[in-house]
Subunit: 344 residues, 2 copies
């Protein structure tokens, strides 16, 4: 097969016997080109196996047809295995899947970027500003993250998945985490549970915070101003430990809301080595409706989190903002729903 240098516009022009400009016009479907030549040019393209060089094109058009998926981490994790845990989590894949479902049919590519240090974030913004990508979808993990602000200051089209920790005029999609947690509380209460505990996530990231406050509010509304709590870091192991801690606080617990499915899996595991059975003695409600939920034994009653849809919406929002940078800043909040399975 043809090897060596890839054919350029110039080559096609030579073969077709026209100028570079004309070939460019034909390729980009610009009017003002004689149908005759049109055909001649396409023939030449076929003959030479020409493929436009995206780099060169982007350099002049200032459009890359690429968006970045930025995973913004904190400095602290820079070299620990946290990241690999993050990728193994279904969360990441669901986001990518959702994004790709819309980007793909627009012919837009996704470039993955991981930034930990502030320095890396600065570099990222610089790269983005110089046209490395048309925009960014941001997954901001740390509790407090300068990146969203940097992005807006730099004038970079960007959409967050999950609300920013501090108010920044930036587009985002999020889940009504508080409503979801309230749903869980009400389900547990309606089921007749009287001694309910909660296993929460870290107390500093927005999504986790919202689940805590939503649950707390709903419980208070039903007269449970206080309830035992333990917290984990969204991993299965931490959920298992938290369940034990909770049981130590109140061995007669008859219901527990766990802030994500992975930790709920851990909780279920911990419960398996106690006399209590799920859901008869103690009901368990998870959060996310991830694949772990159906895999669990017993299958987890959980709060559905339409992450794919949210990611898809984020992609759409980003594309729209790229198209019209002056567009009004907007956010779209998804409503969670309760998925009843066996565990509660």
């Amino acid at each position: 097969m043809r090897s060596g240098r890839a054919p350029t516009l110039e080559d096609v022009a030579r073969v077709a016997g026209v100028s570079r400009a004309t070939v460019s016009r034909v390729i980009n479907g610009i009017r003002n080109v004689d149908p005759q030549l049109h055909e001649v040019v396409w023939d030449a393209v076929g003959q030479t196996g020409y493929v436009p060089n995206r780099l060169a094109r982007s350099l002049v058009t200032r459009r890359t047809g690429t968006v970045a998926l930025v995973v913004s981490d904190s400095e602290a994790h820079d070299d620990d295995p946290f990241m690999s845990r993050f990728f193994a989590d279904p969360y990441f894949g669901r986001v990518v899947g959702g994004l790709m479902s819309v980007l793909r049919r627009e012919g837009v590519q996704l470039a993955l970027q991981i930034v930990g240090t502030d320095d890396a974030k600065k570099r990222l913004v610089g790269d983005l500003r110089s046209g490395q990508a048309d925009g960014a979808v941001v997954l901001s993990l740390p509790a407090v993250d300068p990146l969203p602000r940097m992005l807006t200051d730099g004038g970079i089209p960007a959409v967050l998945i999950g609300r920013p920790a501090d108010p920044v005029p930036i587009d985002y999609v999020d889940l009504a985490n508080d409503t979801g947690a309230a749903l869980a509380a009400e389900h547990l209460l309606a089921r007749g549970c009287r001694r309910i505990g909660m296993i929460s996530g870290p107390a500093d990231v927005p999504a986790s915070l919202d689940r805590i406050s939503g649950f707390r509010r709903a419980m208070a509304r039903h007269g449970h101003g206080w309830f035992p709590t333990a917290s984990g870091n969204f991993t299965q192991d931490s959920g298992e430990a938290a369940m034990r801690a909770l049981l130590a606080q109140d061995p007669a617990l008859d219901g527990v809301f766990v802030a994500n499915d992975l930790m709920a899996l851990g909780a279920l595991l911990a419960l398996r080595s106690t006399p209590q059975s799920v859901p008869d003695d103690i009901a368990v409600v998870g959060f996310d409706d991830s694949s772990a939920a159906t895999a669990a034994a017993p299958p987890l009653t959980t709060i559905r989190h339409p992450l794919e849809d949210m990611a898809a919406e984020a992609a759409r929002l980003l594309l729209a903002r790229v198209e019209d940078p002056a567009m009004q800043v907007s956010s779209v909040i998804y409503e969670p729903s309760l998925v009843r399975r066996t565990s509660a």
Copy 2:
């Protein structure tokens, strides 16, 4: 903050009072520059907030600092939800995590590409040839895929994860799937199982094929030339169905090897509604040691598949080939191991 046009080399040169060439030399750390000027230039860089334009740089250096992660699918799936299932699977995330663990510290970026149709594959090769990325890591899903050959023909540095279906002179990393399956067979046999069945994956993809043949061979070696089989498509649901089918063939089964953990989860689910208990009446061995294995009830005995390590090795291999395209084609095969948990 400074907005509008991003500063260019030209701007820095003007501020520093030197020529573009000199700034370029300083930035790229080329010697032959008076330490005095060196400092002046860096000052100017700081002042202007200059960040080199990667596009422009790549255009001339023919190096992008980006590798593509190509998910090669078949035309058939082009518009069905298969892809989103694929992303939700821990498999994808583990690969990304493994790749990033090495790419990140080399400052190399990952660009995600999904190609279904032959046309898209052709376009991809063209893009790659014209320097869109320095190389590609390929996840080839379909049973028979023209992409690997296209890549080598196009002279694109590429590494497959999982062996190609038909022999192609291309680098790849793979797992000794047959050995893993044999491990499972031997474990089941050593445990005293006499009526063993297998739930396999699709009969046309290499990894699945190897697991089937490895298991079959090991069983034959121990006098079990025939055993009941059912097949699924690597999803939990299909595993559940396959388990029922197997039980219908032989209700007295006392052991089953399931070709991946997700299907094993399904099998466990199916067994929960039968009188048999796992592992006492029937032992179950999975494959992959994915996060699903520990989440299962009972926790799954399974074959460990060091996917992160394999992906990391693929990244290293690719980087090496990019550096030296003439390097000899090589493949590295990882050895699986048995992880004993409770299910067998």
